[in-house]
Symmetry: C2
Subunit: 211 residues, 2 copies
Amino acid sequence: MKPVAPIRLLLVDDHLVVRAGLAAVLKFDTRFQVIAEAGDGAAAVDAHRKHQPDITLLDVRMPVMDGIEAARRIRAESPAARLLMLTTYDAEEDIRLALDAGASGYLLKNSSQDDLISALLTVQRGERWLPAGLARRLREHTQEAPLSARQLEVLELLAKGLSNKEIAAVLGFTTDGTKAHLRAIFAKLAVADRTEAVVIAIQRGLVRVDG
Amino acid sequence: MKPVAPIRLLLVDDHLVVRAGLAAVLKFDTRFQVIAEAGDGAAAVDAHRKHQPDITLLDVRMPVMDGIEAARRIRAESPAARLLMLTTYDAEEDIRLALDAGASGYLLKNSSQDDLISALLTVQRGERWLPAGLARRLREHTQEAPLSARQLEVLELLAKGLSNKEIAAVLGFTTDGTKAHLRAIFAKLAVADRTEAVVIAIQRGLVRVDG
DNA sequence: CGCACTACTACCCGATCGGGTAGTCGGTCA
DNA sequence: TGACCGACTACCCGATCGGGTAGTAGTGCG
């Protein structure tokens, strides 16, 4: 064992308890050193600029600026930054967005201490880290055509329970327009009707219901 | 200030990080003392029996045995036990179930340290603690008639995207039977169609989609 | 005992939905 | 330039949905 400089970490999470927990869990491992913490995305960007950590542990869902946007901005400033996203949710869309935003890994909050540590070490080596089952599920849907921006708008309204006519009114086209979009959406999500589409969309994280 | 014996706490959460975080946050407040931890519901029941804590902080969603069931069993053994449920989700149904199971309070994981401490102190006094906005939302829907067991079965299948005919086949009655159930469900949830019903059901925690 | 309520079945009917087909318009990429 | 694709509009048609109404069986409640 040769002595190595500790990996310097920036912790970003809006939950105080989670930050404290991560710090507590990592405190006794000399390979890691928590050098800063932040409670929202904007603070994370500032803290990253100031401290230039080796790895940033970034919560996905946060007030002010979410983890995805924070990841994008950090990568814009520091393309070599290593970002490990941290989340409770395994919605595929979140993961896809996180990876697109430049994250090097994706860690579920219910991971064990061992997982946390191996994720950190893996990311530090410049490799990608994803939870076991997730990598497979992600590949499955990655082949399929993604929804267009317009289709996501329609889907969002659909998930509010609007009828074809109401969706058309909101988006400013005819009910036939809604139907055309729905047909494309159904095909891409491989479902038969609007209800199924909404359920799948929620499962995959294409739309949010937490309101 | 007269010196008081610290409030003895049992922490129950399947996330190591959360347990560590709670312990870390409470460590510096002498009014509290963490005397034991558990990682699932079954272990929580055992730990409660053994340590008889003043307050048990119980995560709702856990493997092996969830927090609701654990709360029920703990209360069965120790009717005076004070239980503070801890969760990320604010689905109303979870809260209702938790309170029915005998919880004295319900704390969201994104609460501040101040909230955590005042929740603990409130519960210790034997009073009920609920997050601000939640108490109101809960009262709103508490007036409304709850769904029957059969209606929940139908709702569950509805949330899988099944048609009236398919639901009827699964449950063993005619499509008219499905329609009769749906009419009752729509009325109780105050929605106009199946898609809206599913969204509301997911929001309120009446059905789960995490799979 | 009657009353209320859930769990259905059944029929009617208009509105909505979903699928098939076809064509226009604008942007992109080779 | 032509080929392709997304965003529509439009029309047809059968299936499904949701609402109104009515009636039966079974259960729990006072």
